[in-house]
Subunit: 150 residues, 2 copies
């Protein structure tokens, strides 16, 4: 527990005193990704959590959806994000809003890592890995279907 | 109102379709600062608001305190932040947690702008400009007192 104001210094996309962690999800549909939980429950006044996710070139996050929204700020590299039926190119310092129930997945480009800040509510539902039937119901773009990693 | 997922593209620390606004506070104790409200009330699912603040070289934000906390990620330049009795050097991509009631002020360095993302609760109290008596009660560092702009 720490309720005092503080500065967390960054060097090469690592933060002093913050543990680099493996990305963990219920599914196994992710590759070459790690995370830093920068500001979260150790500060009881915070209703939001601030995390940093980074995927190495060619890496990707889980394909998932959930009721809680994401506020994302890219701070490193390039890649794209699948948002239901859309593919969006992203690079530093683009902002992404992921609305409730949107099926989404982040991909780093082949040549560059992709790093972003992701803000979520402290109290939130667990992500769901969509079934093939759910994917088919929401997504009819062949281009998106070909991009999905699962 | 917009409840759809979206990407907001950035170019030179400006965001497509987002208005650059003047910084506004109850006091007049700020200089050379502007803001972009990136993600806020137009997305009803969001409990947090994501804003970008930038101060030009030598600029500074209001000296203030309030009950709600701030989660801050510096994304441009260099400067320092006053946190009660402490002066902290900051640069991209340092993270700052500002706890409730902390008297704080951001300053850009003379040679560089300072730009940061600041996350706040959607529903929050108004900032208070501390009186001289309040400043004296909290801050006894001569170094900090000399840095305060008001």
């Amino acid at each position: 527990m720490n309720s005092k104001s503080l500065v967390i210094k960054e060097t090469d996309y690592a933060w002093s005193g913050v543990e680099r962690k493996d990305y963990k999800t219920d599914g196994q549909n992710f590759k070459d990704i790690h995370r830093y939980t920068l500001l979260a429950d150790e500060h009881p006044a915070l209703n939001a959590q601030t995390r940093y996710f980074e995927m190495q070139p060619g890496g990707y996050s889980s394909l998932e959806y959930h009721r809680h929204p994401h506020s994302v700020i890219v701070i490193r590299g390039r890649g794209h994000v699948l948002l239901n039926n859309e593919i969006n190119e992203i690079s530093a310092f683009d902002v992404v809003y992921i609305s409730p129930e949107t099926i989404h997945q982040f991909h780093a480009d082949e040549g560059e890592p992709l790093g972003f800040i992701c803000i979520v509510d402290r109290y939130r539902d667990r992500p769901v890995v969509p079934s093939d039937a759910e994917i088919k119901r929401v997504i009819d773009s062949e281009e998106v279907l070909n991009k999905i990693k699962k």
